[in-house]
């Protein structure tokens, strides 16, 4: 279990450098490792709502006393005020909160790859224009197609962290409602640089 958590933690960290690139045949010829994995699957956010329930003590709007958190209906709409996930951050000690609000929906993909890859610069093929020495990268190969179904969220600013906090108010800056597919190509390389 510890490793899973470590990997999770590792995934949370900002990366030093990333770039999109299409692997040429020459590049492929330098890749000798055949391990790694191809991952297909789906992520579903708050399909029927989250664990905060309309029956929870304290689950009321501080301004009008209505229920705040509840379930989503079959179309993904909130039956009460909200049913999606919310991630809020506070950048200034005396300021308000920026939040991704009402995050819900489904994302599916096929063929995301993950592997360690060794890149060896040669005289005739210098990766990154020869700016870096031989290196090992963690390569995330993007899936060809990512399918979104009823995927939506809003970007909001608010004066308090929780919608149930006293005096809570928010402004929706923009909202995203996404159905359809995105075609992708290339990969993301993650590798260390600088002074550890």
């Amino acid at each position: 279990m510890i490793f899973k958590r470590l990997i999770f933690v590792f995934g949370l960290l900002p990366v030093f450098c990333y770039s999109l690139e299409k692997i040429s045949d020459d590049d492929l010829s330098l890749v000798t490792g055949q391990n790694g994995v191809s991952i297909s699957g789906e992520l579903v956010f708050n399909e029927n709502g989250g664990p905060l329930l309309s029956t929870d003590t304290g689950n009321v709007d501080p301004n009008d006393g209505s229920i705040v958190w509840g379930v989503c209906d079959t179309d993904g709409n909130a039956v009460e005020d909200r049913c999606g996930a919310r991630l809020a951050v506070k950048l200034n000690e005396s300021g308000g909160w920026y939040a991704l609000d009402e995050l819900k929906g489904k994302v599916s993909f096929e063929g995301l790859t993950l592997k360690s890859r060794e890149i060896i610069n040669t005289a005739t093929d210098a990766t990154f224009g020869g700016d870096v020495a031989d290196l090992t990268v963690l390569e995330i190969g993007l899936p060809n197609k990512v399918k979104f179904e009823k995927f939506s969220y809003s970007y909001v600013t608010s004066n308090e962290a929780r919608p149930t906090d006293a005096g809570y108010s928010q402004h929706v800056r923009y909202g995203v409602d996404f159905n359809g597919s995105v075609n992708m190509q290339g990969n993301i390389l993650i590798f260390p640089t600088g002074n550890p």
């Binding site: 899973k4 790694g36 905060l52 996930a85 360690s116 060809n144 590798f191 550890p196």
Partner: protein, 809 residues
């Protein structure tokens, strides 16, 4: 036939008796057999000591059994134990001895070795039993003896005591039958061996309770009950004189499960864990028994060593609470490493070798726990000290609904010390524990563990090697040194079960997160120069109809990583260091059989037809599989001075000290407090409206092996030179790794041959997860961090994921 072998055979096949006494008239009346001799024995036996010695002057030593007593269990020194024996000789079938034993106790006051004799022992042992034994000795199929025996014992108790406390196997029943030829054979070099050809051996054992009391185990104060049935056929034991050094005993053995009979092991609490349908065989070569001298830390000892143990062990059905996870198989081979550095051995010495020692692991915080653990016993305390060394390879195969997942070429080697003793409750490392609850104390000292796997093969033995272990939460390669102090008590959270307290340190560690083989070497992402300090209190294990339930009491830990390396595991480029601190209370984990439910992948639909119509495919995960459900309640750090917290710190820009050897980077180290830190501080869960914290992070994690749809990513030949177009589906048509094709529109028959995949399904629910701040910490201002974010709050997350993991082709 060597008479000593006959004596050994009698010992192995039945029970030895001692001290003949005259029969009184009453006893004679009880004997109904009329064709042989009837003997009644009423015995009180007291023996000062029995010593086995393989001391030949230059090697070996003494193994001494002290203060042996046999008598009635209620008063072993004052009341006789009674037994009856009918002896008959038949011209055709040979000698019969039909015995009945009334309640009898065999008690050993101490067992010790070499220079430990007189100062400390393995402890005191009591064996109570009653029952019957039928022994027949006739002409064998060759030149030896044929022995048939049937032993049935009940009301059996085994008690091991040290330091005023006892470990008790209570209310056992033992039933054994043996059909074997005993023969003396010439094995060359002027030596003969006893060869026991076991045509059939059957054994059934039940243990009513296991507890830490000399008295009978009581409900709620026991581990639970155990059951075991074992049937062997066509097995053999060959035994001859001479050990690894000078005198001693050497054995070569082969055992084979009788697959026509029932073989299982089960543990029952409120529900049962059962390792059913066991099968396989094991060959043991060069197993030796010696008395060894002067091991550097445990001194004189009993030495058990083996040249090779090779076998195949299969559990056809691993069941929890009546549901099966699937089957497990382990094909293993213990052998000495080629360079001879690691051999397979177990050395056992009496007493607690590290009693009173001041721990010196290099981690001062952990040392206080370890020193305290060994301060509670002395150098005259009884117990078991051991040194273990091993070198082994194995393949481990899990089969879920007929689909296999193989952990390929697992290699492990290492060595280290451990101690075992039973202690009274007031000696606990946790002052809050009940003083009246005695416990098993397990100490681990400098246990050096190394292991690696090549990867996973999903589907068959010839499937393409792949990663995927990252998603199962284990490292494919690791080295670490383990020190630990662990206490084990009887009784769980509810009724019977097991309770644990402990402090564990893994140091000098290197863990692979992911790796890829590139010819002669592996490259990957590694956690180098790592240390994991882990503490747990009041962790309970119970089994009920929901599965194996662990209530995690209080946990706190600190995991430090010197370098997160990309490339080589010890010299690859580093992205800096990490410190991960955890602090939880009242978390739990439930492990149950059965995986995820069937579902539509890549589309929407309630059944296969609707799913296909929507462009998806129906994922059939079957009935078997593994599911782990957990609740993690992350505790909030209330005071900045508290050491227990949940936080993640990333450190870079440290100053390297070359340790005075500029040309040798291997001994370089980072100057303390020289890096810049990014810290996610004081992470905690709560219930969404205030700091009430009962919900935590609830997650359900299921593992299945099932057939999935895999689409080709690009047009052209893949890494195995199999051609296809983007979007074609991969269909297996022959033996892997290259036995597949890409098909534009597979027929239903072809869809049945989709590739097998590791399928991981999870659901995570969080009411509220907060981080108090994200800080930037400069080395010159450690006490006054700059706050990057003044709060992070995640609310109402309900994330469901299903991932199928296949090799890159």
């Amino acid at each position: 036939m060597n008479k000593s072998y006959v004596f050994s055979a009698l010992l192995l096949s039945g029970l030895a008796q001692a001290e003949l006494v005259g029969l009184d008239e009453f006893s004679l009346e009880q004997i109904s057999g009329q064709t042989g001799i009837g003997i009644n024995i009423d015995k009180i036996v007291s023996v000062g000591s029995i010593t086995y010695s393989d001391d030949d002057g230059s090697s070996g030593g003494d193994l001494q059994f002290q203060d042996i007593k046999i008598g009635d269990p209620t008063n072993v020194t004052g009341a006789t134990a009674h037994s009856q024996h009918l002896i008959d000789i038949d011209g055709t079938d040979g000698l019969f001895i039909d015995s009945r034993f009334e309640a009898t106790r065999i008690q050993v006051g101490g067992i010790s070795v070499g220079n430990h004799i007189g100062s400390r022992s393995f402890g005191q042992f009591v064996f109570d039993f009653e029952g019957t034994n039928l022994l027949q000795i006739g002409n064998g199929t060759s030149s030896g003896f044929l022995i048939n025996s049937a032993t049935s014992l009940k009301n059996v108790d085994f008690v091991w005591s040290t330091n005023g406390a006892s470990f008790h196997l209570d209310n056992l029943t033992l039933d054994r039958t043996l059909n074997a030829d005993f023969e003396e054979k010439d094995i060359g070099s002027g030596q003969t061996a006893l060869v026991i050809d076991i045509a059939k051996f059957s054994s059934a054992t039940t243990i009513g309770g296991i507890c830490f009391s000399a008295a009978d185990c009581t409900d709620g104060e026991s581990f639970g009950s155990f059951s075991r049935e074992l049937n062997l056929i066509n097995s053999q034991i060959e035994m001859h004189g001479g050990g690894r050094e000078g005198e001693g005993i050497t054995m070569n053995m082969y055992f084979e499960f009788d697959e026509s009979a029932t073989n299982f092991t089960s543990y029952t609490d409120d529900a049962t864990i059962k390792l059913a349908e066991q099968s396989g065989n094991v060959t043991i070569t060069g197993f030796t028994f010696d008395i060894g001298r002067s091991e550097s830390l445990i001194g004189d000892h009993v030495a058990l060593q083996w040249d090779k143990i090779k076998g195949d062990y299969k559990v056809g059905s691993l069941e929890i609470a009546g549901k099966t996870m699937g089957s497990f198989e382990m094909i293993f081979d213990f052998f000495d490493s080629i360079d001879g550095e690691y051999q397979n051995k177990l050395l056992l010495a009496p007493g607690i070798a590290f009693a009173g020692d001041v721990s010196n692991t290099g981690n001062a915080n952990f040392d206080t726990f370890m020193t305290n653990f060994y301060s509670k016993v002395s150098n005259t305390s009884d117990g078991i000290s051991l040194f273990n060394e091993w070198n082994m390879t194995a393949d481990v195969i899990y089969t879920d609904d007929g689909n296999t997942l193989r952990v390929d070429n697992y290699l492990t080697y290492g060595n280290g010390y451990a101690t075992l003793d039973v202690r009274t409750g007031e000696l606990s490392i946790d002052d809050s524990n009940d003083d009246t609850k005695n416990f098993l104390a397990v100490g681990v000292r400098d246990y050096k563990v190394n292991y690696k796997i090549d990867g996973l093969r999903v589907g068959s033995e010839t499937s393409q090697l792949q990663n995927g272990y990252e998603f199962l939460g284990f490292s494919p390669e690791a080295q670490f040194t383990m020190n630990a102090a662990i206490e084990i008590r009887a009784g769980g959270a509810v009724g019977n079960g097991i309770t644990f307290d402990g402090d564990v340190l893994l140091s000098d560690a290197n863990f692979a997160v992911t790796k890829t083989n590139v010819g002669a070497k592996d490259v990957g992402v590694y956690l180098d120069d790592a240390s994991y300090e882990f503490h747990f209190r009041d962790v309970t294990l119970d089994v009920d109809n929901g599965g194996i339930k662990l209530i995690l009491g209080e946990l706190w830990s600190e995991f430090t990583v010197g370098d997160v390396r990309f490339g080589d595991k010890t010299s690859g480029a580093s992205m800096g260091g990490l410190i991960v601190k955890r602090y939880q209370a009242d978390s739990d984990v439930i492990i149950s059989a059965g995986g995820a439910t069937d579902k539509c992948m890549g589309g929407t639909g309630g059944d296969a037809t609707a799913c296909n119509t929507d462009g998806g495919y129906w994922l059939d995960t079957g009935s078997e599989g593994i599911t782990i459900a957990s609740t993690q309640i992350l505790k909030k750090r209330l005071l900045t001075t508290d050491s227990k917290e949940n936080s993640v710190t990333w450190i870079t820009g440290r100053t390297v000290n070359d340790n005075g050897t500029d040309a040798d980077p291997s001994d370089d180290y980072y100057e303390p407090n020289t890096g810049n830190q990014l810290k996610v501080d004081n992470i905690y869960t709560s219930d969404g409206y205030d700091d009430t914290n009962t919900y935590g992070i609830k997650s359900t994690f299921s593992v299945d092996v099932a057939k999935v749809r895999v689409l080709k990513k690009t047009t052209g030949a893949d890494v195995n030179l199999i051609p296809g177009n983007e979007g074609d589906e991969l269909i297996i048509n022959d033996t892997e790794p290259k036995g597949y094709e890409y098909v534009l529109a597979p027929t239903p028959a072809q869809q049945a041959n989709r590739p097998t995949s590791l399928v991981i399904s999870s659901n995570t629910q969080i009411k509220e997860l907060s981080a108090e701040s994200i800080q930037l910490i400069h080395p010159n201002a450690l006490a006054t961090p700059a706050t990057l974010m003044h709060g992070v709050k995640l609310q109402n997350l309900n994330l469901t994921s299903t991932l199928s993991i296949t090799p890159i082709r």
